[in-house]
Point group: C2
Chain length 482, copies 2
């Protein structure tokens, strides 16, 4: 027992220091390691498998909506960044530059992509001639680099992995439809696969993507009340089409600029997943994304071990056949208590215990990661019960996270209230806003919170701007963000 306690004590408690808790958990659950390159992490197998599961799910959704994958060079000529003014201003400070290659200085230095609108814009201008070439619907899974000053594993790293969709359309209507479709795919994926509730809305002008006409986002709340932008979808208008000459002959034989979109989610989702569901016992993974959905742990005295293990392996094989991602831990030199803690810490959604008495009664014991009470289940119903329990855990985890977000969201009408909110605790402040940049700036300067988005379904109905008291043009969510 003392071993079990020591084990748990290695993770800082969330209430004590949330940042340290986060680092403790991701290190202890073996999700990542620091690398010798500033701000770059190693995605270890247990962390990378979470990303692989996200990829498989998202990739299927992209393909089902007519997108195809491609791969573009990661090197971007310096001149490309001069073509779209906002884009260069937004990204230039964060670019790494290749200046030598093959033993010689390069004639034109090459940036490593922070995002690929420029390279893809250049290629699309060659591929698109006629309205018959539209819509062009392409996605890319890739590594990108942004040389960030402050980094945090998964949430903000110099090199990270993501997907970036880039589409071109005949007109604004079609491009905006695509922008919204992808935003909804992200919402659906994050809410129903990762069990993370989000606020869906539009970014304010100052927070939009550099080069976009409109940026839309889904915003999630971490357990420390801070926000994570979990996905963005941009309507780029004809900005990049004009910069890169993506022109086509329309149905009336007139030369037009294409309307483009881009949209992406990244490995920062892994960070959000941990910060939304994790607790003082460690990681907690929703069943749909969990690399291991259930672990079987045989228990009981040594003299029954062989018989219990034999039955446990039969059940393992039954569950595997049913497509459940299940593992067994029958190591004789590790105590059951230690194993219980271990798999709870690693966030395995369901633990299945089987001992000599369970053998006699033809049953097993279920313990869900998110609610520790035990439940007895007949071995004959095992596959059904596991599937059913995993569905319940998935739904409960979403409900728990949603309740947390609601409890830490508040309608705020005065600036003093807003300041007090971010001074004493965190969360989402729903307020009215006049639309002026100065008011938005003042919130940031005096509270550290930024506007997350203008929700499509606002919680608040404030008539006045929380800062200046002028009539509110938008309802906005403010929060401190990662």
């Amino acid at each position: 027992m003392s071993k079990d306690k020591d084990f748990v004590r290695e993770i800082t408690r969330q209430g004590e220091d949330f940042s340290r808790w986060y680092i403790d958990v991701i290190k202890k659950a073996d999700l990542m390691d620091y690398s010798p390159v500033r701000g770059c992490i190693v995605f270890k197998p247990d962390g990378f498998e979470i990303w692989e599961n996200c990829q498989r799910e998202l990739d299927a959704k992209f393909k089902a909506t007519g997108h195809r994958n491609a791969y573009f060079p990661m090197f971007i000529p310096e001149s490309f960044f001069q073509k779209e003014k906002e884009h260069v201003e937004g990204f230039n400070p964060e670019l790494p530059w290749v200046t030598e290659a093959g033993g010689e200085p390069l004639e034109e230095k090459l940036a490593i992509r922070p995002t690929s609108e420029t390279m893809i814009g250049h290629m699309y201008s060659k591929w698109i001639q006629s309205y018959r070439d539209l819509p062009l619907l392409i996605n890319q899974w890739a590594n990108v680099v942004r040389w960030e000053k402050r980094t945090l594993p998964f949430l903000r790293t110099s090199e990270f992995l993501w997907q970036e969709g880039h589409t071109a359309h005949e007109d604004e209507t079609d491009a905006r439809k695509e922008t919204m479709q992808m935003l909804d795919i992200y919402r659906d994926f994050v809410e129903n696969f990762l069990a993370i509730p989000v606020i869906v809305g539009q970014k304010t002008k100052s927070e939009k993507f550099a080069g976009a006409v409109d940026t839309f986002s889904i915003e999630a709340m971490m357990k420390d009340g801070r926000a994570v932008q979990a996905g963005t979808s941009h309507y780029l208008g004809t900005n990049f089409a004009q910069a890169f000459e993506i022109k086509f002959l329309d149905r009336e034989n007139t030369l037009q600029f294409a309307h483009t979109t881009s949209w992406g989610v990244s490995t920062r989702l892994i960070g959000a997943l941990i910060m939304v569901h994790g607790d003082d016992r460690g990681l907690a993974l929703p069943p749909k994304v969990a690399p291991v959905q259930a672990v079987i742990i045989p228990i009981g005295p040594a003299k029954f071990r062989d018989a219990v293990n034999a039955r446990a392996y039969e059940l393992l094989s039954e569950l595997k056949t049913a497509g459940i991602r299940v593992r067994i831990d029958d190591r004789p030199d590790v105590t059951p208590g230690w194993k219980f803690n271990e798999y709870e810490m690693r966030g395995v959604p369901l633990r299945i215990e089987i001992g000599p008495r369970d053998m006699e009664n033809g049953q097993v014991v279920f313990v869900s990661r998110n609610a520790t009470e035990k439940r007895t289940v007949a071995q004959s119903d095992l596959v059904f019960e596991v599937n059913d329990t995993l569905v319940n855990i998935q739904n409960e985890m979403f409900s728990q996270a949603k309740r947390f977000m609601e409890e830490h969201s508040k309608e705020v009408s005065t600036f003093d209230e807003l300041k007090a909110m971010f001074e004493y605790k965190r969360g989402f402040a729903h307020t009215g806003w006049c639309g002026a940049l100065e008011c938005e700036k003042k919130v940031k300067e005096e509270t550290g919170a930024t506007s997350r988005n203008i929700p499509f379904q606002p919680l608040s109905t404030q008539k006045c701007c929380v800062v200046c008291g002028q009539p509110a043009v938008h309802q906005v969510v403010f929060a401190r963000a990662y």
Copy 2:
């Protein structure tokens, strides 16, 4: 009909100019495009999908043999390249260097990975402490960069995509077993999935991987008689373990260096696939890797169009349900002849025609890409017949390629004969070799051919070195190579 002829004429004939044929085919089949960055190509959706199919197949094989995926930073500190002497000499000339980032010059410049033995070696030294941590079996799917002087789409590009496996073991026996296991997985994949026969063997000392003890390869023959190294597996001994201090306490509690391996295949396989199977009509893809395995083309007069199309869509849906990757082309404004050429050029293995008479007879017409005779098949047997035909096409394509390789392989006993062989035609020369570097070098200088490998199952039984006449120590395959 004249349109059809024009269409075909756009591809240079193989016999006329093989290199031009290759570029014509990959451009016309829409597999790639050139990018504005020297030596970097864009993998367009039709080309990238071939790679996705390879990835899915290989990834399953890697996981079935206990490997897990991870992701390591692509930036490698300059100092890492100083640690393994052969490795630095082999790769330094081809590295691109990041010297500035985030608006400032870097303290230590960063290479972009040409391969990751150094970075992974560094991380393994932190992760491996005891024999209990071994074997460590990790694979990475990634982009890598080698700043090549001469580039060729897919076969040799500055940036390319690949997988690199990196494993660490307790001893030489276990590491060599892994090296051979992965080599055999590559052979199996290339022969049975890509239908490309290969020569399996060991690289000579001068051709081995920079830093390896032994390199093993599979070598394929293109239709111009030149070789492509289709995959390599390296036993690295303790070279990288010593350079990066990958040490562990063994079962006797003694500190030992780990024995490591690495192995990889890359997007150059796409180039090999095209050059092995393609012909004057264009691309030819083996069914297992083909993004589209069968295309249904409704034919006949306009007045029957609706009825024929309706039936064609029923068959489409039947085949899709059976898991066959099938497409329909019912465009009314394009002639059947044009479509036939189009899908032949794109390498679709099976064409299924259906017209009014076929409707009456309850049949369809099959035309295989690799043998143009037509065959009538009952609609009631469609799924079985398509599956059966695809298996046959896969097998026939392998046999055809194997026959080609055999016909262009020759046992050679004298240097004059060797010179003549590479002067007048190309292919694989199977010869004896004394093992001396000078003899190997002389072959390269005077014939342009390089040693491909020392086959495990040599075709030749030469008693003397083809260059110096001294007793042969090895049987070697020489060929001009991409």
